[in-house]
């Protein structure tokens, strides 16, 4: 098991290196005149040239990259070229905001999708049809549209929640719940559709197997067969989908954070990328890639715990 974890961490480090290199190149290709972006339209060409020199943008690309990499390996991700904020501090102050949305959405997804999936697989008939129809709707409606609709109904008309903004749990737990509920629901709906379908399919498949028939013939209650035996075996593929969902939700948070004006990673990522704020974007990429690597590791470990065959392989 230790070797498995070490191999995964090693692969994660290689992945981080590759992703950071590709991002660095893409940023320089696609960001246009960064110095002009910083100084604005009124700045003279001379000022722009001076700014380029100050930022070291006139140096060879490889030199710039290895300088960044050297500093990053020493824990120094630099400061934003636009706001002057330290990248580490900027990410630290926002990562928990995004994670509270994404983890909240994953928990809600896991619970609701499991209930819907098992219900559809066990009951069949109209229940199955309704669940499938609901999941198709969840797939079809874009997240941002759901977010806008939720705000209109629950925040503006009913005034149950705040339409925009974020309040930290430590500042005001009730306020926190009022600010994260709608974004979490908006993020979770697509995931529920996807995972519920997966759970339904897996449970249906498992319930047809011989060992389930054997357990039933020995007189075990149906609920115990479903929840103790069938769901454990069906959980493995659902967990894999949930892992993919987590990564997808980090991307989905970009739109949801903008619609709800939430100061998370997504909000800063859009601005930093369009401006060409290289230090901030590189820091964000490292942070998000690290989260993805860790989440995948956790999913792998959970898979092994759920299914001993995975550990052997």
């Amino acid at each position: 098991m230790l070797m498995f974890v070490l191999r995964r961490i090693g692969a994660g480090i290689v992945l981080l290196f590759v992703i950071s290199s590709v991002t660095f190149i893409l940023l320089y290709v696609g960001s246009g005149d960064i110095a002009r972006n910083i100084l604005g339209q009124q700045a003279t060409q001379e000022d722009v040239a001076l700014k380029k020199e100050q930022l070291g943008l006139n140096r060879p690309l490889l030199t710039q990259y290895f300088d960044w990499l050297g500093n990053a390996l020493h824990g120094d991700l630099g400061s934003s070229w636009f706001t002057g904020e330290e990248v580490t501090s900027g990410i630290t102050s926002r990562v928990a905001v995004t994670l509270s949305l994404v983890i909240g959405a994953i928990v809600v997804t896991a619970l609701i999708a499991t209930v819907l999936g098992v219900w559809a697989a066990v009951r069949h008939g109209w229940v199955d049809k309704v669940v499938q129809a609901v999941t198709i709707l969840g797939f079809a409606i874009p997240g941002f549209l759901i977010a806008v609709g939720l705000v209109l109904v629950f925040a503006i008309n009913l005034q149950w929640f705040d339409p925009t903004g974020y309040i930290s749990f430590t500042d005001d737990p009730t306020g926190w719940l009022k600010t994260v509920t709608l974004p979490v629901v908006a993020l979770a709906i697509g995931g529920i559709a996807s995972v519920a379908n997966q759970v339904r399919g897996s449970v249906t498949d498992v319930l047809r197997r011989d060992y389930v028939r054997t357990l039933r013939s020995r007189g075990l209650p149906f609920n115990r067969v479903v929840f103790k035996h069938a769901l454990r075996n069906a959980g493995s593929p659902a967990l894999a989908v949930l892992g993919v969902q987590f990564v997808g939700l980090l991307g989905g948070a970009v739109i949801v954070e903008r619609v709800f004006a939430i100061p998370g990673l997504g909000d800063i990522a859009v601005g930093a990328t369009s401006q060409g704020d290289v230090p901030m974007v590189m820091g964000l990429v490292v942070a998000i890639a690290t989260i993805v690597v860790v989440v995948n590791l956790i999913i792998d470990l959970l898979q092994g715990w759920l299914n001993p065959k995975v550990r052997l392989s």
Binding site: F82, V97, V180, D267
Partner: protein, 511 residues
């Protein structure tokens, strides 16, 4: 794993998981606009920096005005009034400005504001990274005569200088904090508010508390100030509908009716003009543009009123000049100088030798939306000019200034003083004269304006300059863009001429 997980247990697990994630969360400005003692404003851009010498202005002006005082202030008529400087006087040649400073002002770190601090701030701004650092390009020197007397010498007459001292060029930071490692995000000034760094998320939400030792209590109308950035127009609309903000600069005019129906008032202001910049007046990239008749034909080709409706949704005033109605150079007759007249345009093109038209290269940007470029292309096609568009991506402005194109569409701000407009768009060294086009008559009129001994002579010169530039069709303006500022029923504010955002001290609780 799934053994006997009761519903209450599941609920508790969910709550704990969500709480655990939230526990590490950074605090933010919150979402409530609060009572009359908290002012929450919506902005469309974050603060580029809080270093006074590097700050931007316009839409970023509230950030600087929260924490810094300026040497002078401008009232809502644009008139320069006292601030840190109580009196000021030019010498006869208008090349030396003497200012008397207040003696009762302290920065929030306890150090005193005096003439020496003012000198240090001015000199830092002159060599800083502010996009407006050219404001002090004519400053030859600044000296502290004594703690309350400052003397500034100018290289040449600069009619905009006093106005610059009301904006970011006049912002005074504490010299003791110049070299602080967190100077960009934790400002030390003498202004009405102090940044609450613990409740600020840089780039998203900035919280400030009242400076208890502020010298001008009459300008401090609130205990707390929250400046929130809305990158998305829908998010800002939702914040307005949810009554989370007291005031907001609207990104566009798309939601004005919904905002008004939410009980907010709109303060209208014309801050920009929009249209074509006919930059290659020497014909270096496109020989056709060297002929004034071609430039005039382009002006006649556009149905400005239709463009205002189709592209500007009716929010604006049709014009053919770049000077705003608040300027002494403004001439209302010039607004209708070039009516939509295709026959006249074609006849001018034929006279200039372009009866069969010509091709005009222009950069395009997706930020302008999808409707704009088809409108331009069709309008010019109607008089025989073929527009060749190149998507300049994020290099849109750099490519215009390089200069890589003979002409371009753009919306340019109408600065509060004539001198700023001249330096921005008309003089041979102006930023938006990238071909450095020099017209002897324009240069002569600028010189007359600078050397004018009284206001009427300056006004006459700048009026003539405006008329000449319109006659020469240096630009093809369509209309002045009307932007809106929304305020809730509890808040009142007046627009600031020449600035995109109302000045902070003009926000007051209503009643």
């Amino acid at each position: 794993m799934f053994r006997r997980l009761p519903l209450a247990g599941i609920a508790a697990t969910v709550a704990l998981a969500l709480a655990a994630a939230g526990c590490g969360g950074s605090s933010s400005g919150g979402s409530s606009s609060g009572g009359s003692k908290t002012l929450t404003l919506g902005l469309i851009v974050p603060a580029t920096t809080f270093v006074a010498a590097d700050m931007n202005f316009a839409n970023e002006s509230p950030y600087g005005q929260a924490v810094y005082d300026t040497l002078l202030k401008a009232d809502t008529d644009g008139k320069v009034v006292p601030s840190l400087a109580t009196e000021w006087k030019y010498n006869d040649t208008k090349t030396q400005l003497d200012l008397t400073l207040r003696d009762d002002v302290k920065f929030t770190d306890g150090t005193a504001f005096n003439a020496d601090a003012a000198v240090q701030n001015l000199k830092r701004f002159q060599v800083g990274n502010s996009p407006n650092k050219s404001f002090l390009v004519n400053m030859a020197d600044a000296k502290a005569v004594d703690p309350t007397h400052l003397s500034i010498t100018l290289k040449q007459v600069d009619p905009g200088f006093l106005n610059y001292l009301t904006q970011n060029a006049g912002m005074m930071g504490a010299p003791s904090a110049f070299n602080k490692p967190d100077a960009k995000t934790n400002p030390v000034g003498s202004g009405p508010y102090m940044m609450d760094t613990g409740n600020t998320v840089i780039g998203s939400s900035y919280t400030f508390n009242k400076n208890p030792n502020y010298w001008d209590k009459d300008s401090q109308h609130y205990d707390k100030l929250v400046l929130k950035v809305y990158n998305d127009p829908t998010a800002m609309l939702n914040a307005v509908k949810g009554k989370q903000i007291n005031g907001a600069k609207l990104i566009n005019n798309d939601f004005n009716d919904q905002i008004k129906s939410s009980g907010y008032s709109l303060v209208e202001q014309e801050t920009d003009w929009t249209g074509l910049l006919l930059l290659d007046r020497d014909g270096k990239l496109n020989p056709a543009l060297k002929d004034v008749r071609v430039r005039q034909a382009i002006n006649y080709a556009f149905d400005k009123a239709a463009l205002l409706q189709a592209y500007g949704k009716g929010y604006g005033t049709v014009t053919s000049q770049i000077f705003p109605p608040t300027s002494p150079a403004y001439d209302s007759g010039l607004d209708s100088k070039y009516p939509h007249d295709l026959a006249k345009a074609k006849s001018l093109l034929a006279e200039a030798g372009y009866a069969n038209g010509f091709t005009l290269a222009m950069p395009s940007t997706t930020r302008a939306g999808t409707a704009l470029y088809p409108l331009i292309t069709q309008s010019l096609k109607d008089v025989g000019i073929t527009v060749q568009l190149t998507d300049a991506g994020t290099n849109f402005i750099p490519d215009i200034l390089a200069p890589k194109y003979p002409a371009s569409w753009l919306a340019l701000q109408m600065d509060p003083t004539d001198w700023q407009i001249i330096n921005f768009e008309l003089s041979p060294a102006a930023t938006f004269n990238p071909f450095k086009y020099s017209d002897p008559k324009v240069n002569d009129l600028i010189d007359r304006y600078l050397k004018a001994t009284d206001e009427s002579a300056a006004t006459a010169a700048v009026k003539e300059l405006n008329t000449y530039v319109v006659d020469q069709a240096w630009f093809a303006p369509w209309y002045r863009v009307k932007s809106n500022y929304a305020t809730d029923p509890k808040t009142e504010v007046k627009a600031q001429p020449g600035n995109a955002y109302p000045y902070l001290w003009n926000f007051k609780p209503k009643g």
